[in-house]
């Protein structure tokens, strides 16, 4: 009987000795993310009534920096927290919602899971598409470690006189893929100053930051909510370069100097984004 107890105690000691990893400073690791041609789309589902959303926006911005600018961000204002005149407060009169953003929000179920959250390359994980900000880095890291299956090149030509953009997206597949592939082209805008609820004093004034700077705000899609097939059939091959040109008239609020064209190619069935690219409207 004694041997039995000694065995149990020895097992417990072995368990204790093997169950602790004490980490010593520095706690932050520096890795090189500047090599690689894959870029990753982070859609930050947000709203001006969402107190935790400024923190998520900062996180997305930090990821863009830490991942050597290989992250493209779209701020999708949709759902309960994005409603204009939120909580009957005129300070939240701005309406940043869009038809496309609303449709994506409904399809992926973002706002129903509580903002902030997002999509990373629209990749479906074990519990669905929607990821809370704390998971963005890990999923983006895994995506960035892959090589790009397609490369996108954006060329913009902005007619200042007519306030009209002409943009051409060139898509070149780097490896053979099967399925139907679509291209979505969006306009995003930086430097929009409007009120935002906030609970993080490190980010800005709380509880309402009346001069919050909204960046990467989705203004709309140029070629429909779900985009268009890259080819007539939707099927693609490596030997063809696909060129899609669109024109878009800008409304007054869309300041060309602050706007970007964001284009991404995705698989229609899985919704996963193969590649994303971004270019300033005036670049």
């Amino acid at each position: 009987m004694k041997i039995k107890y000694i065995t149990i105690v020895l097992i417990l000691i072995a368990f204790v000795l093997n169950s602790c990893d004490k980490v010593s400073a520095p706690y932050i690791e520096a890795r090189d993310y500047c090599s690689g041609n894959k870029k990753v789309l982070i859609e930050d589902y947000t709203g001006h009534g969402c107190v935790n959303c400024p923190g998520a926006a900062v996180l997305a911005h930090d990821l863009k920096e830490n991942f050597c600018d290989r992250i493209v961000i779209i701020g999708v204002h949709a759902g309960f927290f994005a409603q204009p005149n939120f909580e009957n407060k005129p300070i939240f009169a701005a309406d940043f919602t869009t038809d496309a953003g609303d449709a994506w929000d409904t399809f992926f179920g973002n706002s129903s899971m509580g903002n902030p959250n997002g999509l990373v390359d629209r990749k479906e994980g074990p519990t669905g598409f929607v990821l809370y900000p704390q998971s963005w880095a890990e999923v983006a890291d895994a995506q960035l470690s892959e090589s790009a299956k397609a490369l996108l090149t954006i060329s913009n030509d902005f007619d200042i006189e007519n306030n009209t953009l002409s943009t051409t997206i060139k898509t070149e597949f780097q490896e053979a893929v099967t399925g139907t592939y679509k291209l979505i082209v969006c306009i995003t805008q930086d430097n929009i100053i409007a009120a935002q609820k906030n609970n993080d004093p490190e980010v800005g004034p709380t509880p309402i930051d009346s001069t919050y700077v909204h960046n990467h705000v989705l203004r709309g899609t140029i070629n429909g909510t779900w985009g268009e097939n890259l080819s007539a059939s939707g099927e693609v091959d490596m030997t063809t370069t696909y060129e899609n040109t669109y024109t878009q008239e800008f409304i007054v609020d869309w300041i060309p100097t602050d706007c970007h064209v964001v284009a991404f190619v995705y698989n229609e069935e899985t919704k996963e984004v193969l590649q994303v690219e971004e270019l300033g409207v005036l670049e």
């Binding site: 169950s19 990893d21 004490k22 980490v23 809370y132 509880p207």
Partner: protein, 556 residues
């Protein structure tokens, strides 16, 4: 020859039937099931439009638990379906299947379980897995568990496995692997000399560890994170004391914003009980004790441990409006409850006596200081903060004073009167940043009139008065019961004090139910107000909704 073969076959068949009958007669099957369904409708007053519903007019949650046992062996499964989950339940539950399958062999000294199981070490500070249907919560372990009692009064437990994460299968380098040991000694059972002692002492200890691969691109993550706890329970006559202290090494996670300080938790309780009087006191301190098997998860899932709640659990409509959710990153508080039964035939007690319960609890933030001069409190990638162990922070998370009097006036008429004062940090607990603490006075009158031996009527009148949040509320309920089968209820909660006139809404409901033995059916029509549902300090947010709600449950 043919005859012999026929007789042999007949004999074997008969033996099999007899054996099967014997086998079946020793077998037992138990089970329970529940179906909850919601039919949604648009409601202008609640701001719910047809486009919000967008064709998703049904929510459906259901489960069936089946347990088979024969002798020392038992096995079972639970089927669950969320098609889609009812509003307010985590959308990740969407789906159906068998998330809980198990088999167990148990003798006097030994129990071995494979598959899914629930387990708790002590108060749960290092490990507790459980299922709570009303929250849509299940963190069961899928693996193996051994329970061994070598001598009476000494129980050793070991667990190993991965936790349930909605419907997601375990994948290598995905969520962590949990392993743990627990030992509990009941000294009165182990030592014969203490068997008759008035002092009853139990001591215990546990160690739990999780392994998760480091997939984080920025932070150096510990692959193995361990927690340890020691506990005792001491009974001396009418007094009882118990305590548990738990310690966890660095566990940077999304919940604590990737800080590297160690965590700890202390729970101390004391009670005194004699005829007509009960006193209960509790102290609790938690510092950085979220412990999940996936460091990146923040939702109500994958908790390895459980941090016990320390407030009066309110069930009346308005009293439950501001429920407290345990703050795993830090809280310190105490609770004191006195239960006194005024004797029968006394001046105040009258013919039937009178019960008085007073409960006070307060929970503050822990006192935090910068871990060093260069980092702010809670900054990721640092030690987070420093904190004096017994010092209360200035921020009050929750204060609750409840005074309850229950009085029976006659054989047919009894009552409960309740006054509650709540001071509730709505900014921290519900994320209403910038909003001041809600200070609410709540009064409740609950009257029951027994018309006949089978028929009774119960009324509730409630008021909640506050200048914060949504202002004043009034509520009323009438319930007619025909035992043992029927009940009919109408209720209304009216937010008459809302400063926005368009939000002065009646949340009315009408329901009836029928119970036949262990089977219960209930149908409710009306409005559900936006709110929070909490069980044991674990909460889920519930959006406003309108429509029909049906529940069918049974057990056998």
């Amino acid at each position: 020859m043919k005859k012999v073969i026929t007789i042999l076959i007949f004999t074997v068949a008969l033996t099999s039937i007899v054996t099967a009958q014997g086998f079946l007669s020793k077998s037992q099957v138990h089970g329970s099931f529940e179906i909850d369904g919601m039919y949604y409708q648009a409601d202008d007053a609640l701001g719910i439009t047809e486009s919000d519903i967008d064709g998703n007019i049904f929510g459906f949650n259901a489960f069936a638990d089946i347990i088979y046992s024969i002798g020392d062996f038992s096995a079972g499964f639970r089927y669950e379906a969320y098609l889609p989950p009812i509003a307010g339940f985590d959308r990740s539950l969407d789906g159906q299947g068998f998330p809980y399958l198990w088999a167990s062999y148990t003798t006097d000294k030994f129990s071995f379980t494979v598959g899914n199981f629930y387990e708790q070490f002590g108060n749960g500070l290092t490990l507790r897995t459980y299922q709570e249907w009303t929250l849509g919560y299940d963190n069961s372990i899928n693996g193996a568990r051994v329970v061994y009692e070598p001598v009476k009064g000494l129980i050793l437990k070991g667990v190993y496995g991965t936790q349930r994460y909605f419907w997601a299968k375990y994948e290598k380098n995905g969520r962590g692997i949990v392993k743990g040991f627990d030992a509990e000694f009941n000294l009165n059972d182990v030592f014969a000399s203490m068997a008759e002692s008035k002092i009853k002492l139990t001591i215990g200890g546990s160690a739990v560890s999780k392994y998760q691969a480091d997939e984080n691109p920025f932070y150096k993550m510990p692959k193995n994170v361990a927690s340890f706890a020691g506990r005792f329970n001491l009974g001396i006559g009418k007094f009882n004391f118990s305590s548990e202290y738990a310690y966890k090494i660095n566990d940077p996670s999304a919940v604590n914003n990737y800080i590297y300080k160690n965590g700890d938790a202390l729970v101390v309780t004391g009670s005194y009980s004699t005829k007509g009087l009960g006193i209960f006191a509790m102290f609790k301190r938690i510092d950085n004790m979220s412990y999940k098997s996936d460091a990146a998860v923040t939702s109500n899932a994958l908790d390895i441990n459980f941090l016990p709640a320390m407030i009066e659990p309110h069930t009346y409509m308005l009293a439950a409006m501001y429920p407290y959710a345990t703050q795993p990153n830090g809280e310190i508080g105490f609770q004191l409850e006195v239960v006194y039964k005024v004797p029968k035939k006394s001046k105040i007690g009258g013919k039937y006596g009178m019960g008085i319960t007073v409960n006070y609890s307060q929970i503050n933030d822990i006192a935090r200081e910068k871990a060093n001069d260069t980092a702010y409190i809670g900054q990721s990638g640092t030690m987070g903060w420093k904190s004096d162990f017994f010092k209360f922070g200035d921020q009050v998370f929750n204060r609750d004073l409840t005074i309850e009097i229950d009085k029976k006036f006659s054989k047919k008429f009894k009552s409960i009167f309740k006054y509650i004062y709540q001071d509730y940090d709505i900014a921290t607990i519900l994320g209403h940043t910038g909003d001041p603490n809600v200070k609410a006075n709540i009064a409740i009158v609950d009257l029951t009139w027994k018309i006949t031996s089978k028929k009774s009527i119960r009324w509730e009148l409630q008021g909640l008065w506050t200048t914060e949040d949504k202002g004043d509320w009034a509520a009323a309920l009438a319930e007619y019961t025909i035992s043992p089968h029927w009940f009919f209820t109408v209720a209304d909660q009216f937010n008459y004090g809302n400063k926005h006139s368009n939000e002065r809404i009646h949340y009315y409901t009408g329901s009836f139910g029928y119970t036949l033995k262990t089977t219960r059916f209930a149908l409710t029509y009306g409005r559900q107000r936006e709110g929070v549902v909490c069980v044991g300090g674990v909460c889920r947010q519930v959006p406003a909704s309108s429509g029909f709600y049906v529940t069918i449950s049974s057990s056998f």
